[in-house]
Symmetry: C2
């Protein structure tokens, strides 16, 4: 599976657990999967337990390093400002995301974390990958809850 397919599978698994369906994966420069995670906000009762944060932390723990140079963070949804800043702190080389998030996103919307002159490390950003599949998971999840 490609990274975005792994992230989509993590998002679908999150939805099945009653979590907002967002999934993330960290791959190294060779494309090896270092860590993957789905959203665990409800299970952990922790609003910082976003898929990105969990995957970044797990990847760093696996490498034994707080830095992930050369690595790519792939996520099904445009990261929020918290996760975008975390991706910068972890020094990921590239951020790939699926659906855009005009309401909660912090990359192309809202706080636009990487556009701030004080953002010390700015990853390459590729948005809109498998956008409709990623967005459809979210749409179905919220439609079922209404």
């Amino acid at each position: 599976m490609t990274p975005i397919e792994i992230a989509l599978a993590e998002a679908a698994a999150a939805a099945a657990r009653g979590e907002v369906p967002v999934g993330a994966v960290v791959t190294d420069a060779a494309g090896t999967v270092l860590a993957q995670a789905g959203n665990e906000v409800e299970a952990r009762r922790d609003p910082t337990a976003h898929a990105e944060i969990l995957a970044l932390r797990a990847a760093a723990a696996r490498l034994g390093s707080p830095r992930l140079p050369g690595c790519t963070l792939t996520v099904t949804l445009e990261p929020c400002p918290m996760c975008a800043q975390a991706a910068s702190f972890f020094r990921v080389k590239r951020l790939v995301f699926g659906a855009y998030d005009p309401k909660g996103g912090g990359v192309e919307h809202g706080a636009r974390i990487f556009a701030a002159p004080s953002c010390h490390h700015v990853p390459e950003v590729i948005g809109g990958v498998r956008e409709s599949d990623c967005a459809e998971l979210l749409r179905q999840f919220f439609a079922a809850r209404r």
Copy 2:
């Protein structure tokens, strides 16, 4: 001790461990300390282990709730964008901080998290409390490392 004094003590303890001296404390509406923490980025090799994140998580775990309504987060340094967004997610009522951080801050500087129209919960913000004491800890720490 007042919350900012507790946060200052946590920051001093962090410096003694070789961590950038930032401390944070979460108090409830009655002023009871729910959690306190110092920066643990180096010890955990985790750039998300900021004092604020650790204190917010611990307070939420203590209450058994992902929301901290009525609570105040007091921190020695203006939070970065990651921590400011986390404070919003945890729904803290008030953010009190000591030193301003023009380079890394995300409240009065940089991404200005709470100023984004898409920020769903904006706490009351009081900056500059015991500013010189909080800044002096940081100045001494970095001066000793040069």
